[in-house]
Amino acid sequence: MAKIELQNVCYTYGPGTPYAKIALKDVSLSVEAGKITGIIGHTGSGKSTLVRMLNGLLAPDSGRVLLDGVDINADKKALASVRCRVGLVMQYPEYQLFDETVEKDIAFGPRNMGLSSEDIAARVREAAGFTGLSEEILSKSPFDLSGGQKRRVAIAGILAMKPEVLVLDEPAAGLDPKGRREILGGLLRYRDTTGAAVVIVSHNMEDMASYADSIVVLRQAQTAFEGTPAEVFARRGELEENGLRVPDAVRIADKLRERGVPVPEEICTVEAEAAYLAELLSLK
């Protein structure tokens, strides 16, 4: 059974006013535990609305959101516990930091869950480990940190709640390549340790190709198509019509195929491509 599922979800902002805007139209989605699902789409395609559905910040106008088969909007009082089980890291989460020290800020979530102080301290250490924050940083003020470090603190704040479903809206936007790899690597480690289901919204196709198990493409509030990264990136024409691009590795593979090099379709990361070409060249 899917860990978390959207069934025919519709949502409109400001219904009945001149500002009315359809954000989601009949969107269905299912995410398995232990898998990473990527969501891609042009600006305004409904990605951010979709992630707010997953932890009940927004309730769908019609359709259902199921967590372990239970409709999360059926009981409004249970939403607080749903939000502890579905961790949502919003876009630019560094702007939500507020406490005196990094340690206290990361502890905000677990404290709201009513855990004991030993438990909280252990969770803060563990979350800091996943995001690569050193002991020394924990005692600093979050406002003295660099942008990349703030981002890690904000993500650690959600990881410390040990969510069963982790949802991230552009977790690595605006970071340098090294910071990107470290943060995404930390998320992979979290998934491997806890077996959580992970949903990542991103514009970075290279990241999607290397990390996602499956990808959903949104177009004008609807699901355009979905599949494994190789299946999705094989539909290059449709992606480009939607203002999206394919990873560089896929583009290079296309060019190589045009010249008669039989690069397999499932290769869509630079690493896999390099390994394939190295093998091909050593055979010659």
Binding site: G14, P18, R52, A80, R83, P93, Q96, M161
Partner: protein, 273 residues
Amino acid sequence: MLKDVTLGQYFPGESPLHRADPRTKVVLSLCYIIALFCVKSALGMLLCALTLVCFHAASRIPLRTVLSGVKPILFILAFTFLINLFWTRGETLLFSWKFIRIYREGIVTALMMAVRILLLVTGSGIFLTYTTSPIMLTDAIEQLLSPLKKIKVPVHDFSMMMTIALRFIPTLIEETDRIMDAQKARGASFSTGGLIRRAKALIPILIPLFVCAFKRADDLAVAMECRCYRGGEGRTRMTRLRFSPADYLMMLSGVLLIAAVILLNHLPVGIAL
């Protein structure tokens, strides 16, 4: 949600009132307010109400939107009505029980006051806030007040500050929504617990909000300086306001309304109260 709050919000549309010069609408609203305060006769009040109905029809704003603007003042409306009803002393006693005395004059004053406030609020909405974007409004105020520059009143600076403040209200509301969502996702709750707990729950919202607002103000100042903003002196405008014949007609109708109201106050047909 915070977004649902209507505080005199602009309602985009294509109507004669939307197209009119914002200065016209400021003048018209002023005339309307003056007329409302001069009214001393039932017929005069009726005339004011009819004027508003006509302009409302011309504005093509849904009646529901206009009435929703009245909701926040319902309490004040009821309060003034009751105060005037019980505390006005007159000659014709209609009802008396213990210390409560209601006079004919009291009913009349209370009704007039309530209708006056009602027309004032819906009127300023229709003439100004619903049909004029905030930016147009500050432009109009700046131009109408520009004679004050002669006596060294920094009119431009004030209107620039007002424009910026108005421009950033929606941004701040959006920001607050976003931060609230983010903290809710971390298990924060803003609607449970006692007063102290609720006040404490605001800290995780207010601190990030202030940090963002200061950062944004700083960025904006730098961006304005980069584009060589040095205040109003010698500054030209992209959109120049021009009066059309319809504008003159509208302002004339405002002045005529005041004249008619004053006339009705003194004529026996006006049913003086």
